[in-house]
Each structure stands twice: as structure tokens, then as C-alpha cells.
Symmetry: C2
Subunit: 459 residues, 2 copies
């Protein structure tokens, strides 16, 4: 019990929550957070605190957290910065051990004294805090939601197995929006802001053991305690992949961070080396962050880096081949027996090499034959199926072939696919069944590179 | 007149077309092409040719092209390869000087003899041919459409100012689909297949003078006559940007091309150097091809490479800064007078450096002030506005601010934007008004790099 109390569990699965600083004004942060609870489906209870109101939208307002008649697991604080110390004092009296402080106005505006006083007060009372100056927490299973951006501005993520840690609130919100649109689901989203006593390292440690999280993504501008970070990240990486997008990888970017969060970004090369040493996967571009996480989440472990391309379009096959080499992967050379068998089946129309080019004549059945053969062939580690759905002979039943090949869990199978009908009817079916689908061969191959990298760094 | 006859105009704006080899079977290529004319809005007349049918879907079938009672500008040939020589003989007698040969079965399947006989017949009669073994032509103004993939498989591109040349049919079709989905419009799409006597060079020469085309995109697996290509491309590049995506930039990719189109891909380094020398812009990834073309199409010429970032989200500002440096561009340093003026306006809340970080408090009015100041400041060449629409203070009226800034055509203005509401209501408005919009700062900055490159290579 003591251990749990000291952990981070209550940030995500509190039984009861107090929202402190709920205004009747619908534009105020506290009000927006309250609406998340009122309109949402949070699994626990919640209480409002505001000494100036008795009732907001039919819900009782308590003058102080003391006045709440039940135990409170988590306080969500959205009062002005200068009142936060007092609010924390009240929380301590109520026995609250966890708080999310949304309020801004601490060191990010130069108020170091206020930060220090808050820090010592939290230590004194043993209260763990996410924030201040943050968006807070979104948990897709308990449906706890402290994000103070209304849903018409920020669509909430769908349920999934990616946990996303982000210091910056604005970047986090933008990335959630972009990923939700692209169909990626999250287990948890945490914007941790100034990280007064819970930082990315603590969160990575927690998420490393979170059964709802398969992949951790971190958007970082700088790590404060490098030694602790390295130790924790190395251990967590052994359990599940951790992807890092680091802002400030140039001197100019570092300076921009200094104006943004006041953090020191540090030497890019040192970060690069340290991340790699800790088994972390550093991505170069935020668009790629979730595209890569998606493959790591859905794929089985590859035995090696030999990729077989199977396509019904030669041009995309060439692009995939270029990308495989550029990313340091290998072009698989299939067994002679596989080659002979497939050549016979495809009656000399298809090119049975690597890529296997089924040409515009490629049917669903041909794809099935080629994929089945590639699954059985021990000279092939990874299968990249490029199904260009503009070609008239490819049927809707290609979905079942790909899902089945993915479901046997023998080898990673990655799909590149385009086409109107494909996008509307087949892609959602594949995604629902966990088959990773990409629009461009280069993106698919990049994700494969990270998949291979993860297991070679952490085995 | 003689000159025009010898040109390529009739491939795109024929007054009358004969479709030769129209089957009654809706699955056959010729039938699909016929349906494009029947269901579409081609600006000219068209006639069907098939000796075995009298009438298909209410349209007369002529037994031979001779029997068509009018002059024919363009023949579209979709008969089996072995009949093509005879069909060309008929076309010659009818006085046809232009043909699109869809039919496959020439050198790509090893039938070099048939290719040579076709070539000499075409030369003898002075007939220009796009193809064989191709998708042919789509022109978004005359609405000529020889693409034999039905619209439910391949959505037709919307009207625009990008011309897209592609040897491979399957890659071309896939790319059209992907670009249409992303809102890019085309003036012309040409899949030129085996390029028997009209190749990418001839087409680039034509498109260089095409008033409907502002940017030319080429997806190439190899150029046959390098000398001619260089000469023509250099001249056309002076008139408008030409982007090239070259498949086979690795030895393994080259080998895949050999199996695909039989072309020799050539040494990647030689291609790289030659493209640059000719003023062409080589892109590394097909996703980027149209994203970059889009900026080149819509932007004014930048005076230099100094970029000012204006953002309401610090994190994305940092990413943009990193990307500016990584792409060899410069971080603009605004004039002291600009800095002072803006600092006063933003009452010490915003960070007035580069990036200008308006923070979550950034309103539409603040964006307007910052953009107007950047347009006036001579130390700034290019403006990158990052409008994260999750932030509650940014209004729908940001669209007007951005459109106005773009419309004065003083400096390139590029927008990065995210957010549900933004995507649904504001983005389409911006795009309709030609304002280039990107989802990710890295993508926007990459496009800016190409914009700067184009003018420095071709001035």
C-alpha cells in the first residue's frame, strides 16, 4: 500500500478527483476541465472546489477541498500561480498525495522563488505533482482528462497502446490532433510541463511497467538528470520500445528552447550517443514518431533484417528497394525452391526476384501465394507487401489475405497501399486488425529500420 | 500550321479522337477508356472503332478508322500488341499524326523486333506516339482521359498547375491518387511508358511552354538520351521549376528497374550532378514531390534564405528552427525597430526573437501584427507562420490574415497548421486562395529549401 501510494498510479486511475479553481465562466481553464468530467465518462467520482460559487451547471461547489465529504485521490489545480502554495497546503491537510498543477507562472516566466517555495512545500508533505504549466493527463481507459482545450479544438485520442510524453503543451496537443487523424490510438498522454517533482524519467519508469502501454513516445526538449534518465530508460527499453523526438538538435534550436521552456537543450551529439546507449530510438521528424511507434506496437519481432518486397507495381517496388538499402537493411534473396515454385505458379508473367513484381496482372490469389511462400522461406525475415489498389485485378479480399498473414505472427508483415476504395473500405479493416499500413514505401521502410534497430539495440 | 502539327498540342487538346479497340466487355481497357469519354466531359468529339461491334452503349462503332466521317486528330489504341502495326497503317491512311498506344507487349516483354518495326513505321508516316505500354494522358482542362483505371479505382485529379510525368503507370496512378487526396491539382498527367518516339525530354520541352503548367514533376527511372535531356531541361528550368524523383538511386534499386522497365538506371551520382547542373530539383521521397511542387506553384520568389518563424506554440517553433538550420537556410534576425515595436505591442508576454513565440495567449490580431511587421522588415526574406489551432485564443479570422499576407505577394508566406476545426474549415479556405499549408514544420521548411534552391540554381 505504501509503495502504491508513493507511485504514479493515482495520476491515471484515481477513484476521486477534486478540481480546484472551477470558474462559472466557460472560457476559463478550470471550467473547460470541469466540462471534460461533466460531458465525459471518467470512471471515478469528481468534486468541484471554488469559494466564490455554490453551484456550477447543477454541480455542488465546495469552498475548500476540506469540505469534500469523501477521500480525494487526485487534485487538479487550475488557480492563479500565486494561490497555488495555499491550495497545496489545503491538499496536504486533506491527505491528498497527488496533484496535477495546470497553472502557469513559475520559472517559465522567471519566477524562480515561487518555484522553490512550491518545491519545498511538496517535499515536506510528500505530494507528487505533474506540472505546473502543463496540459496534464489524458488516460484513454479511465477517461481522466485534464486537457483544458475543448474537444472542438482538440479531438481526444482514441484508445490504443502508445503512451505519449510531452513537456510542451502546445506541441503535445498538436501532435495528438495529427495522430488521432491518422488513426493512431493512445494509452496515455501526459504533458508534464515544468516537471517540478515528477519528470520524464519517473514517467518512463512507470510506463515501462504499465500493461496498457506497448510503446512509449517522448517529445523532449532536454533532460535534467541525465544519469537517472539513462539508468531508467535503459531498463524500460528492455521491456518495450521508447521513441524520442528531441527538439533543439541545432545550436539555433537550443537557443529557441531557452526562450521557450528555459531548459538547456545540451549538446546534440551527446544526446544522440546517450539515447542510443540507453537503447532508445531517436526519430528525426515528428511526422515519423507515431508512424514508427505504430509498427513497433503491432509487429512481431523480426529474426533479421532481410526484407522481401512483394508488389503489383514495379515503380513502387524500385522505391522500396532504394529505401531498404538507404536504411541499412538487406534485400532478402529467396531460396531457389521458393523461386521455382512461384515462377511456375505465376506462369512467367510476374518477376520472381526481389521485389516480386506481380505486375498489373497481380490478383489477390497471387499475393496470397507470394506472401505464404515468403512466410515459409527461411531466407526472408520481413515481408513488405505493396498493394496498389488502382490495379483492376486486386479484389477487396486482399484484406483477409493480409490480416491472416499478420495473424500467424511468424514474421513482420508491413503493407503499403494506395487507392480511394482501399482507403475507405480496406484500410480501416486492416488497422482494426492491427496490420500496419503505410501510404508510401519510404515511410514503411523507415519504420522497418526502427523495428530492426529496437531489437538489435535491446537484445 | 506545319509546326503545330509536328508538336505535342494534339495529345492534350485534340478536336476529335478515335478510340480503337473498344470492347463491349466493361472489364477491357478499351471499354474503360470509352467510359471516360461517355461519362466525362471531354471538350472535343470522339468515335469508337471495333470491327466486331456495331454499337456499344448506344454509340456507333466504326469497323475501321477510315470509316469515321470526320478528320481525326488523335488515335487512342488499345488493341493487342500484334495488331498495332496494322492499326498504325490505318491511322496513317486517315492522316492521323498523333496516337496514344495503351497496348503492352513490346520490349518490356522482350519483343524488341515488334518495337523496331513499330518505330520505323511511325517514322515513315511521321506519327508521334505516347506509349506503348502506358496509361496515357489526362488533361484537366480539355478533360481528355485515356487512363484505363475506372474512377472508383482511381479518382481523377482536380484542376491545378502541376504537370506530372511518369514512365511507370502503376506508380503514376498511385501518386495521382495520393496527391488528389491531399488536395493537389494537376494541369496534365502523362504516363509515357516505353517512350517509343515521344520521351520525357520532348514532354518537358512542351510543358516548359505550356501556360497551364507552373511546375513540372517527373518520376523517372532513367533517361535514355542524356545530352538532349540536359539541354532541354536546362532551358525549361529557366522558365519554371522542374522536380525530379529518380527511382534506382542504389545499385539494388537499379537492378529492380532492369526487371521492371528494362531501362538502365545509371550511376546515381552522375544523375545527381547532372540534374543539379540542369537546374532540376531532385527530391528524395515521393511524399515530398507534390508537397514541394505545391510551394513552388503558389509562392512568390524569395529575396534570400532568411526565415522568420512566427508561432503560438514554442515546441513547434523549436522544431522549425532545427529544420531551418538542417536544411541550410538562415534564421532571420529582425531589425531592432521591428523588435521594439512588437515587444511593446505584445506587452512582454510574447517572446520577440526568432521564433516569435506568441505563446498560448496569441490572438489573431497578434499574428497579424507580427506578420505585417515581418513583411515590412528588410532583414526577413521568408515568413513561416505556425498557427496551432488547439489554442483557444486563435480565431477563425486567422484565415483572412494569412490570405491577405499571401496576396500582397511581397514575400513567401508558408503556413503550418494543425487542429480539427482548422482542417475542416480554415485549411480549405487557405488552399482555395493559394496559401501553402503544411501539417509539420519539417515538411514546410523542406519545401522552403527547394523554393530557395530553385531560384539560386536558375537565376
Amino acid at each position: 500500500m505504501a509503495k502504491k501510494e508513493a507511485g504514479l498510479e493515482k495520476f491515471f486511475y484515481p477513484k476521486s478527483v477534486a478540481i480546484i479553481g472551477v470558474s462559472a465562466n466557460p472560457k476559463k481553464l478550470g471550467h473547460v476541465i470541469f466540462r471534460n468530467f461533466l460531458d465525459g465518462k471518467f470512471s471515478g467520482k469528481y468534486f468541484l472546489v471554488n469559494p466564490n460559487e455554490k453551484n456550477i451547471l447543477g454541480q455542488t461547489c465546495y469552498p475548500n477541498i476540506h469540505d469534500i465529504p469523501e477521500k480525494v485521490d487526485l487534485a487538479i489545480i487550475a488557480t492563479p500561480a500565486l494561490t497555488v502554495l495555499e491550495v497545496i497546503e489545503d491538499c496536504a491537510k486533506k491527505g491528498v498525495k497527488h496533484a496535477v498543477i495546470i497553472s502557469a507562472g513559475f520559472e517559465e516566466v522567471g519566477n524562480f522563488l515561487l518555484r522553490d517555495r512550491l518545491k519545498s512545500k511538496l517535499n515536506k508533505h510528500g505530494i507528487k505533482v505533474i506540472g505546473p504549466n502543463c496540459l496534464g493527463v489524458y488516460d484513454s481507459s479511465s477517461l481522466l482528462d485534464t486537457l483544458f482545450l475543448p474537444p472542438q479544438r482538440l479531438e481526444r485520442p482514441k484508445i490504443g497502446e502508445i503512451a505519449f510524453l510531452c513537456q510542451s503543451g502546445s506541441a503535445g496537443a498538436a501532435l495528438i490532433d495529427l495522430s488521432s487523424e491518422n488513426g493512431f490510438g493512445f494509452s496515455k498522454f501526459i504533458s508534464y510541463g515544468n516537471a517540478i517533482n515528477v519528470d520524464e524519467t519517473d514517467l518512463i519508469e512507470y510506463l515501462g511497467s504499465d500493461p496498457k502501454t506497448k510503446v512509449i513516445c517522448l517529445f523532449s526538449e532536454g533532460v535534467k538528470d541525465g544519469k537517472k534518465f539513462m539508468r531508467v530508460a535503459r531498463a524500460a527499453s528492455k521491456k518495450k520500445p521508447i521513441l524520442v523526438m528531441k527538439g533543439g538538435m541545432t545550436a539555433e534550436g537550443s537557443r529557441a528552447i531557452l526562450s521557450h521552456t528555459g531548459a538547456l537543450a545540451g549538446d546534440p551529439e551527446i544526446y544522440k550517443g546517450a539515447f542510443r546507449q540507453a537503447g532508445l530510438l531517436q526519430v528525426e521528424c515528428i511526422e515519423e514518431l507515431f508512424q514508427i511507434a505504430h509498427l513497433l506496437q503491432t509487429s512481431v519481432r523480426p529474426k533479421g533484417n532481410r526484407v522481401q518486397v512483394i508488389t503489383n507495381g514495379g515503380g513502387f517496388g524500385v522505391l522500396a528497394t532504394d529505401a531498404i538499402i538507404k536504411n541499412g537493411l538487406r534485400i532478402a534473396v529467396m531460396d531457389e525452391s521458393t523461386r521455382k515454385k512461384l515462377t511456375k505458379k505465376f506462369t512467367n508473367i510476374a518477376v520472381v526476384k526481389n521485389p516480386i513484381d506481380l505486375t498489373g496482372n497481380g490478383t489477390t490469389q497471387w499475393f496470397k501465394e507470394a506472401i505464404d511462400a515468403a512466410i515459409r522461406d527461411r531466407s526472408i525475415d520481413i515481408i513488405l507487401a505493396i498493394t496498389l489498389y488502382q490495379a483492376p485485378l486486386l479484389g477487396q479480399d486482399i484484406a483477409e489475405v493480409l490480416i491472416k498473414a499478420h495473424d500467424v505472427k511468424k514474421k513482420p508483415i508491413i503493407v503499403v497501399a494506395t487507392g480511394q476504395e482501399f482507403r475507405k473500405t480496406i484500410k480501416p479493416k486492416l488497422e482494426k486488425n492491427g496490420v500496419p499500413v503505410y501510404e508510401f514505401p519510404e515511410k514503411a521502410v523507415l519504420a522497418i529500420k526502427y523495428l530492426v534497430d529496437y531489437y538489435s539495440l535491446n537484445s
